[in-house]
Point group: D2
Chain length 378, copies 4
């Protein structure tokens, strides 16, 4: 195995959940070492956190610009190779852009940018940079999602004619039904949270899951949001009719007021010859349906799975791996790409996933605001 | 227990599945005896079938009009009290109308009529007749569907803000993807099958399930069908956005090309205080969700259930009852109504369910044909 | 279809659950008509009940002996052909014996007799009589249990090496933990309920399910009961180690104090080449396991099922049928046997199932009482 | 947070699965740094592996004795504090003993020793040493297992009267049914693998799960093994009847020939007032049963869970964590104990769990060999 890849972290300090997720994911397959970071805007907290988690403090920087400046002074063989961007959303774009322009690889949390325009700019930047860029649609890292993708690519479903993806959560209920809370929380303030809450935060995962697994692209969409209260300006629920083609249609349902649902991402894909169903909360069970044969349940780690799927499983069948392992699989793919090793398409979500996600979000808002009309995807 | 109710059967002879379902359902609670019938348009087969299933042949008639004519000559205490209409769809309306006009009670298979206009005429006829009329939305007869309805009525979900119903089947795949078959089968011929295949046959069940369980009414809808092929004129798949109110929205998804799905009717209802989820293929498990408490699974026959639910269970908990038992529960409710006994709202689907169903079907077609626009329900 | 079979009913009057189950089951496939009965030891109630359920009262008899006597006076073509015995357990043996001796066919509720000795006598009686005899191990009537049996017979599991059956209920908790109740209820009184409660009532179903599905016989067993209290003399829980052969072993677990369990009969059968798992509370899902292939879920009504399984399904896939339908399948098999039609081994449980069941129950008691030692089955 | 704990690793080099599991688990909560190791008996491979995974090579030792010797020369504040023993089974005892005698804390893979006698010696050693000792019954680290334990301790089940644990795998089928393989594989060679295969490797987990969750101890047992072939001397399947008390009984079922089962550890605990059911392959779903209330499903991360359970969840509800996270929870508990922080009983399995496990294994063998008789636990 080659030497470890030098990783820089932006954000994710203290009790940050996303910070833990990325650190553990980077560790799992022994490919990365954290060599520099700006965990926190407060320099003292930043350094203290580095000490806590045992990252050398000499490359803990006071801010992002300093990190770039100082790292560029180091010889390439010592310099940070890839940065993980875990900061608040509005910082993703400027940070990613500057990193790419300076030749760094980037792992960027979702949403990649706050607008589609920024996303396209970033895409151009990457084209010029020629480095590796990943956006963390974490759920694509699950072994059975990868297995679904590979089997669809092999043609086991025949021509696909219908897709149905759902992402239901209930956590915003306690905020939205409280007049005081809903008018003060940043999540529902368009100035702070961007143009969409539900579709931007979770609907886009369902959208990505469809394009990731089927290899098809959404061509047009019609969206209806629900704000629940007149004094609320952000979608907390929405349904999107989609067309991949004139006769290939689908539905994306997303909600933050689906009471009692936890993290209910699920997908069903129907083709002429068969179908797949998968749910994120039971990630190790992939259902393959047929009109004429018994239902089959695929599980991770079995020799009947594809290489891309098996690659994402560390222990033998029956030892449940979870969301940290899914993210670790994405880090593994990025490591291979950075090292110039062979890797499969699908090992990590790319710039294109990010660009299409932003296009999707803006189009859902446009469709809804124009009165639930059809809008074309680019 | 009072004397058995005198039941007449129209259609359902020979190997008819719907015939078996109604006969067994009428038998289960010992409330009905079949005293007259036109099982079959061929009189000889009609009589032979009566012999086979042990119905006296003296009141097996050559056709529907004769049945009405002859039965009206009998004294009221011998005359058929209620007729079950199991004939081809286009006959439902004229038969039901004539029966009501002659003072008979009616149990009518779905769809109640072929057009909304007929449905409204039938509604008027019933108002004048004042008899008992049921339309067989069979799935409302399941004990856990009834339990859901009762608990919602009691307010356990608080204000409802989202509904999501699905009815997915895959059986039409083997027809639709075969050019020859799809152009010849009566199911896909608008002249024979009416204006809608998927929404008319199964989507309407999902629609009814929403109104039955929530007690709310759909106010407007927007629908998108999928015909899959240019030479096919009937919907085999469709999605409907619905509004019960400005801020109470929902989705109805129906498909006959959801490959590998068998009879996948399912419903989820989300309110401020909780949610319910139920699936027809596992009818004896009702999931109650909450944002803050463990999920609860309600099952039939337990003392914690409502009277309406318990009434529909014959054996102790853990002895699975099924679709025949659900239909039997509807027959039980009708029997009580005919006898003038006390019965609960919800024991059987009524004329109003039928009327609204037709309104729904025509509106989905209108919405789709006009380019996926919002259409108001009456 | 030939004329209906003339059925007599013994017991099962009034609100009897077992009465409803048998009447509905006999009706479902249009094979039987009830022509005579002793529903109730009280003649007036007996006649009233007959009126309620619309059975002609002229052949409602004051007691069992009268029924036999009077029916024997009738010409064979009018006489009751088969009697269903639904009376208290201690009456099963004398009634069945007398019926067989007089040439009647018999459908006998479980337990067939109260002792193994009686069971063997009855077996001899049947041999002489040459009529049809069925004991109602109802669960063998489920389509997926039959499918399991057929596939095992075809060899899909290879050589079987392990079986594991369970029947867990919790209903006796409310009695057993109450000193007053447990000393008064007839169920726990050996004088009234026979030698075993848990194993005799439900463990024997698990035992039968093993022999029914595998086609193998239990050769020896070792049993440990739990009485829970020193002042209780009846088993309310027990585990049985079984050997079908020196190297083919298994376990039967039964409990009436498995708190919260409803009617938890389940079976798993493991062979060299595969395995099956099935649970009574989800009767329409049969799991087929393999060490190297995805799990398969078999469901009723599909063309991939065996004839014996398909025969027990009335509606298309996805329309759940239940326990009444399972019992109806047994009545269907008995009807074929009575008519001398071709029928498959396995369509109904036979005298041999009854005899082995009693042998099993007595052996579990013997094993436990002798200090959990191995006891040989006959 | 205090400084990281200095961890030494024995074994687990190269592609070792157990090595990955422990390294990731030690990393997850930022409590440990690996400072020394003997990953591999071959010194060159040992050093190379250290380089690969970025452990400084200056404290990579040529063998275990050298590690102890050299580390003891270091000042306490630099010395390895705790060693994880991941070597072949027969080395666990001597290594653990020497480590304890030298004042190290120990995390020991299962089985703790190869005999009960060794286990007791080790227990004495620990008593004298007064350090922290953990044995990795990994499954006790799952949040819902901990939740079960805490709720039982609080009394939600009332008095427990029945337990039922199962550990079914099928992987040995491909070996056992092949005459050549079964006579050569080390797993089935008593000289290499110890006295028990199935019970020693997995049955003991089921045993531990019972004692861990209930807080009760098994007092006596009766065991029946299955060897499947006359020329095989190791148990590949076995059932154990257990008594926690005269009227508190249970069953432990273990198999390596349960075809198609992957890692099927499951437990059910029945008490007067309720029951729990849990399965390892769906670790985030804990079922709570009652005779009178709906079934409840507990899931990780909710505020309704106990502190001990919540402590073992990093992300919000609905983000599945798995086996690596379970092991990480055990490492977290050990870290607290080493630091002298407050920690809950149950945060990691202790010497007592190890001792009782060995006692259990030897007793199952004794019971079987003596002809399936009752044997007393110490």
């Amino acid at each position: 195995m080659p030497k470890k890849i030098r990783l820089g972290i932006l954000g994710g300090g203290g009790d940050s959940l996303i910070g833990v997720l990325h650190r553990v994911a980077s560790f799992i397959n022994d490919n990365y070492e954290i060599v520099g970071a700006v965990f926190n805007p407060n320099f003292e907290e930043n350094v203290n956190f580095a000490k806590e988690i045992d990252v050398p403090t000499n490359r803990i920087y006071k801010d992002f610009d300093t990190l770039v400046e100082e790292e560029m002074k180091l010889p390439p063989e010592e310099r940070i190779q890839v940065c993980s961007i875990l900061t608040p959303n509005f910082l993703h774009f400027p940070m990613a852009k500057k990193l790419l322009e300076n030749g760094f690889h980037v792992i960027c949390e979702k949403p990649m940018t706050t607008t589609y325009e920024e996303a396209k700019i970033l895409q151009d930047t990457l084209t010029k940079a020629g480095t590796v860029f990943a956006v963390t649609h974490t759920y694509t890292g699950y072994p059975m999602v990868r297995q679904m993708r590979e089997m669809i690519k092999e043609g086991v479903l025949g021509k696909i004619h219908k897709v149905d993806a759902r992402y239901y959560q209930g956590w915003i209920n306690e905020i939205i039904h409280d007049k005081e809370k809903r008018s003060t929380v940043w999540r529902l303030d368009p100035k702070k949270a961007g143009i969409s809450s539900c579709m931007g935060d979770i609907g886009v995962h369902a959208f990505n899951m469809i394009e990731f697994t089927t290899g098809l692209q959404v061509k047009s969409l019609l969206c209806d949001f629900n704000y629940l209260y007149d004094d609320n300006q952000m979608d907390v629920d929405g349904t999107v009719l989609i067309r991949m083609d004139e006769h290939v249609k689908g539905i994306i349902r997303a909600s933050q007021v689906a009471t009692g649902e936890e993290n209910g991402l699920a997908i069903a894909i129907y083709g002429e010859k068969g179908a797949f169903r998968w749910e994120q909360e039971k990630p190790n069970f992939l259902y393959r349906l047929s009109d004429t044969e018994p239902v089959q349940i695929y599980k991770p780690g079995h020799a009947y799975n594809s290489k891309l799927s098996l690659d994402g499983t560390k222990l033998p069948p029956g030892h449940p791996e979870g969301i940290f392992d899914a993210m670790a699989n994405i880090y593994l793919g990025v490591a291979r790409a950075i090292r110039g090793e062979e890797y499969n398409d699908g090992e990590f979500p790319t710039m294109l996933d990010g660009v299409r996600g932003l296009n999707f979000i803006e189009n859902t808002v446009a469709s809804h605001k124009q009165g639930n009309v059809w809008v074309e995807m680019d």
